[in-house]
């Protein structure tokens, strides 16, 4: 091995580390270790001067390894790798010791914290000896994209990509485009026509030669890795014939949407039993036909809208479905404009008026004399048929929280604002494209705040309500964001694959093929001629499962090699 010159940089992090860890004692302890050329401490290692210090020291002292004892690598690993790069050192020759989140912040005993910090830094010094300079690989980026789902999200993403002159394959399960939005009449809060919104998109999609539209189609399988996916699409035509088509794409946008909650599950709302209790979608049908009437064909004198059906409840779904409050207000407006003499009661839990124009919409709905009644979300109203002497069809009984009275509300027509839920087939989709779902079945984004359209699988993006309930502005924003991310990747032309992956030493490989089945990314292939397995670096995600499992010890997990880990174990216990 070359002569090691390790630079150790210990951060004070202001008083975050220095308050509990005697930073100077740590520095003194590591200075004397074999291979350590310099050991420094500094107030804020991640700051510009701190990073410059590392770069300068690398050059001045010809350091060939760097250890930074500071915060969690999840925080600043990239920062310090960059600093090394700036100093002319391969970024993988850097290792961090977490002496903040997992030391100074959790141990108040100064002596103990300092001893632990010494041990962790020592372990990092031990480990970094065995680090190797790693280079990223490049691979081709296929500029075509697969968009799964022909609703507003899918249509928007497809158009964004096609307008930038790239090929798009738009796969839609049903025979028509538009998804759930096609079932809606007007949108809230501006009362625009949904049909107009969609028609514009659908026309442009059909007219665009770069978009290959596949209706009545579903994704059968997806193999490969980012930039190089092979998708098989199965199409069922009118006469039941099935065709399969293979397309090569670089990225995938999943925009499969949502399904609505089954209102019949809440028995005391009477959906399915009482004829004039309808869901929001059933009401939309009435609106599109242009006639709001009860099942007996009469204009309703009293109408009631009940919020949070299937949402915000541990029994069904704990989350808020986000769009229903404003949609309910929209219905109040539509009821009033169709029949100004109709008395509309809006029975809600909270009024979620979070977006642009929402509070104003709420106000104008009050101004047209909608009666707002509030109930506690765990004490749901009960709907029953009214008596022969009542001037209404049904009565809704509920504990009203604003007046603290138990009241009965007359209603000839009741609209249930059913919530959104993950589609029943979303599990299949998740498995096909290798993304995760959260507890409620929504697809998981890479980071809930900082990366909302990417997933932890490179090249797979999610947009719209398949990720979580959201309204049209947010759906369109996400669709465009996903398209923009893909366009950025395509513009680079090639993709950079992280230098950290597994490597099979073919001399040691016995050809047992145990690793082939273990890999969740199907990144290990068996060569029938040489009778050896090898890893496809671009597909490998470096989880290390194969490394640990190989009975011959033939697979090396780059940057997490056995030597490195053993050194770390020894170092931590020294």
């Amino acid at each position: 091995m070359e002569e090691l010159k390790i630079g150790v940089f210990i951060c004070n992090c202001g008083s975050n580390i220095a308050h509990h860890v005697d930073v100077d004692a740590v520095r003194e302890a590591v200075e004397a270790k074999p291979g350590v050329a310099i050991a420094r401490s500094y107030k804020y290692m991640c700051s510009n001067p701190g990073q410059d210090m590392i770069a300068r020291d690398i050059r001045e002292h010809q350091l060939n390894r760097v250890v930074v004892a500071a915060c969690s690598p999840r925080m600043h690993e990239k920062t310090f790798r960059n600093a090394c790069r700036n100093g002319g050192l391969n970024p993988y020759l850097c290792e961090m010791a977490n002496i903040r989140e997992q030391c100074s912040w959790v141990h108040s005993d100064q002596l103990a914290a300092t001893e632990k910090a010494k041990a962790l830094t020592n372990a990092a010094i031990n480990r970094v000896r065995y680090h190797e300079p790693l280079e990223s690989l490049t691979a081709e980026m296929c500029p075509a994209t697969l968009v799964i789902g022909g609703g507003i999200a899918g249509l928007t993403a497809a158009l964004e990509l096609a307008d930038a002159a790239h090929q798009v394959y738009l796969v839609e399960r049903t025979a028509t485009l538009g998804g759930n939005l096609a079932r809606v009449d007007l949108t809230a809060p501006h009362l625009d026509s949904a049909r107009d919104l969609l028609t514009e998109r659908i026309t442009r999609v059909r007219a665009n030669s770069r978009i290959t539209l596949m209706l009545n189609s579903e994704l059968q399988s997806l193999a490969g890795y980012v930039g190089n996916y092979a998708a098989i699409i199965r199409t069922k035509n009118g006469s039941g014939e099935v065709q399969e088509r293979k397309v090569d794409v670089g990225n995938v946008v999943v925009a499969t949407g949502y399904q609505e909650f089954d209102a019949g599950r809440i028995t005391h709302y009477g959906h399915g039993k009482l004829p004039n209790v309808v869901t929001s979608f059933e009401f939309e049908q009435m609106l599109r036909k242009g006639r709001i009437e009860t099942r007996h064909g009469k204009l309703p004198q009293y109408a009631a809208i009940i919020h949070c059906v299937g949402s915000r409840n541990k029994e069904f779904h704990p989350y808020c479905s986000r769009v229903c409050c404003m949609t309910a207000l929209k219905y109040a407006h539509e009821l009033k404009s169709a029949n100004p003499a109709c008395y509309v009661s809006d029975i809600y839990v909270d009024m979620h008026a979070f977006g642009k124009g929402h509070e104003d919409f709420y106000k104008t709905t009050s101004e047209v004399k909608t009666l707002f009644l509030m109930f506690e979300k765990n004490e749901r109203p009960v709907v029953r048929k009214a008596g022969p002497n009542d001037d209404c069809e049904m009565l809704i009984e509920v504990n009203e929280t604003l007046s603290r009275e138990r009241i009965e509300i007359p209603a000839d027509l009741i609209i249930l604002m059913v919530g959104m839920e993950a589609r029943a087939d979303s599990g299949e989709v998740a498995r096909l494209v290798n993304i995760s779902q959260d507890k409620e079945g929504w697809f998981m984004e890479s980071h809930p705040k900082l990366d909302p359209v990417a997933t932890t699988t490179d090249g797979i993006y999610i947009a719209g309500t398949c990720a979580a309930p959201k309204d049209i502005p947010d759906t369109v924003a996400q669709a465009r964001a996903a398209a923009a991310r893909i366009l950025g990747k395509i513009a680079k032309g090639k993709i950079e694959i992280d230098g950290v992956f597994a490597e099979v030493n073919e001399d040691r490989c016995s050809g047992c093929r145990m690793c082939n089945e273990l890999c969740p990314y199907s990144a290990i292939e068996f060569n029938d001629e040489t009778r050896r397995s090898h890893v496809i670096p671009a597909a490998c995600k470096a989880c290390g499962a194969c490394v640990a499992a190989c009975p011959s010890g033939a697979i090396k997990g780059r940057h997490f090699t056995v030597e490195q880990l053993h050194a770390q174990i020894d170092g931590v216990l020294a």
Binding site: S345, S366, E367, E400, E405, R406, I407, E408
Partner: protein
């Protein structure tokens, strides 16, 4: 037992002056800012809620509207422009129409033209009655204002005064009993002892004369203005009923007349101030004016003005016939004011407000005995 919601009540209240009540989204800013809102009387939010939900029987049984003096702070603080102050005012009008058993009050509030017609009718009847009284019964002449041969002799006017007073007292008493019944008498859950009724009875004349609660509003000027108009009016009534002869005697009895002058200034000044205020609309409580408010002010101002004309014509100018004509017109203002507005319209508040203060104390004491926890809830007021 669940109470039925009645969304139609709001439509009815609109004719009484309530507007944008449905805008209220119960943020509670109004009750937080109201200096009088304190359990068990949450003002004005509880009334707003009862009205929004159309709980008519409940509303009839409350007297929160009478505990409000329209300082207007609530309307100023309301972020939704729901006008809680004006809603409380319209609820006072509505309650007035409910305490009245004849249904005439309801008619007048629904249609200001009906009230105007009634005022004009009573005015004309008064005119005819006085002319009949003056020219045939009393054998008086136009040229004599006071003393023997006066057109409108004092002893006959007295009879009319007392008859009118008696009738009005009877009507007010009936309506007050109805108010007591709706708010207190029929309430099975409230147990008010006879002793409580007796020991608090002094509150009735106390509040009637002082409008003490009004003085507790943050702005004192409205209370003072009202007190001035009220005391002036009471003074005039007392003078007219007890000392009418003094007014009509040739000598100037300064002891009596100085009160008369002060009262007249109070009445005229006060009503003109109020009318100007309602035209300019700078104060919150002057922003909305119902026709009944105008009628009330115009009648009082007219009565005061014609009183001055009488006095001046008789005493200073010696023009008895002019004084008599002014006297006639004066009665044509005064009698409708009393006969129409006291039983059926705005002036009835002279009974309902003191009664409300009396009942509020009875309720609070009873609740303190029954549910100490509720009665002792004192809202925390931050220093201004």
């Amino acid at each position: 037992m669940a109470i039925r919601v009645n969304p139609k009540l709001i439509d009815e209240l609109e004719t009484y002056g309530a507007a944008d009540v449905q805008n209220c989204y119960h943020c509670g800013n109004c009750s937080a800012t109201c200096p009088f809102s304190k359990e068990p009387f949450v003002i004005p939010r509880r009334s707003m809620r009862n009205l929004q939900m159309g709980l008519e029987e409940k509303l009839k049984g409350t007297f929160e509207p009478w505990l409000c003096y329209y300082c207007g702070e609530c309307s100023q603080q309301c972020p939704r422009g729901a006008e809680p102050g004006e809603t409380m005012m319209s609820l006072r009008r509505w309650l007035t129409s409910r305490y009245d058993l004849t249904g005439i009050s309801r008619l007048f509030y629904r249609s200001w033209k009906a009230e105007l017609a009634a005022l004009i009718l009573v005015s004309l009847v008064t005119m005819v009655a006085f002319l009949v009284m003056g020219f045939s019964l009393g054998h008086g002449s136009l040229g004599v204002y006071a003393g023997a041969g006066a057109l409108f002799p004092d002893h006959l006017v007295h009879i009319l005064d007392l008859a009118l007073a008696g009738l009005l007292a009877a009507v007010l008493l009936t309506n007050s009993i109805r108010m007591w019944w709706l708010t207190t008498g029929r309430n099975r859950n409230l147990h008010i002892s006879l002793w409580s009724y007796v020991k608090n009875v002094f509150l009735l004349p106390y509040h009637f004369l002082s409008q003490a609660r009004y003085s507790q509003c943050e702005k004192k000027l409205p209370w003072l203005t009202h007190l001035a108009i009220f005391l002036s009016w009471v003074t005039m009534e007392v003078l007219v009923i007890l000392l009418l002869e003094r007014f009509h005697s040739p000598e100037t009895v300064w002891a009596a007349h100085v009160f008369g002058y002060l009262a007249t200034i109070g009445l005229l000044g006060g009503t003109i101030y109020a009318m100007v205020g309602r035209v300019r609309k700078r104060e919150t409580h002057y922003k909305h004016t119902h026709p009944t408010d105008w009628m009330f002010l115009i009648l009082i101002a007219g009565a005061a003005f014609t009183g001055i004309v009488q006095h001046a014509s008789y005493r200073w100018l010696g023009l008895d016939s002019v004084a008599n004509i002014a006297y006639l017109i004066h009665m044509m203002f005064v009698v409708p004011l009393l006969a129409v507005q006291i039983p059926f319209s705005k002036l009835s508040h002279l009974a309902y407000r003191p009664l409300a203060m009396y009942l509020a104390t009875l309720h609070t004491d009873a609740l303190a005995a029954q549910e100490p926890a509720v009665a002792q809830t004192e809202p925390v007021r931050l220093a201004a």
